[in-house]
Symmetry: C2
Subunit: 145 residues, 2 copies
Amino acid sequence: MDKFLKAAIEQAQKGRKEGGIPIGSVLVHQGNILGKGHNRRVQNNSVILHAEMDALENAGRLPAKVYRESVLYTTLSPCPMCTGAILLYKIPKIIIGENTSFMGAENLLKDHGVEVIVLNDEECIQMMNDFIKENPGLWNEDIGE
Amino acid sequence: MDKFLKAAIEQAQKGRKEGGIPIGSVLVHQGNILGKGHNRRVQNNSVILHAEMDALENAGRLPAKVYRESVLYTTLSPCPMCTGAILLYKIPKIIIGENTSFMGAENLLKDHGVEVIVLNDEECIQMMNDFIKENPGLWNEDIGE
């Protein structure tokens, strides 16, 4: 498996162990992970720290040029908020673990020229399906439903 | 002046006094402010705490129904990230102080049926024009340029 997807899955699993929603993300620049993150709705009572947002926040303040050379990995298709963050910083490429349990704003990314690669990784799918089945209320809260 | 725009401007001014970027926001539900926020790039070294995100975060975890009955005030036209957060939580109405110094993703909001009201308030315009003139590098960083 792609080592960066693996790192994103490890973030998701870490979040799950903390009692949170199992979604993970890493920001990668020239083969190096600049920031790792996972959903922190439960842990921090946060409504904005989705995994991708947490990875971006943990990467810190970066020059515009770095974002534009980076790849964002996420275990799950990015919601409109995370999509907007990707567009704000003009991250050119997104690698998505799966989009079968939730379809985010991938078309908006593509409309703006972002390269979107969906792996539909079995481990990512299983992880989200199990979580959603066990925690439908929490999951719906996280996607604004 | 609308008291909620005034509260958003006060947030922006607070941010400026802290050495930050003068953009403020409040989330309003049935005449009550649920959350106030201002840009925290400088203060928290945050790349995600734009004013609107900070207001949403400070409002805490709310039922989906509450977001859908709320109005978000912001002193400046919302960037793609903040626009995405508005779409995620299906906030139906946005009142914007001004969009002359920066034009955000207002069309995306409108495309999704969000009511967008732009006041082009003189105080908001002056505040941003002064800031951008004095801090072009910081401003460009905040909008991913």
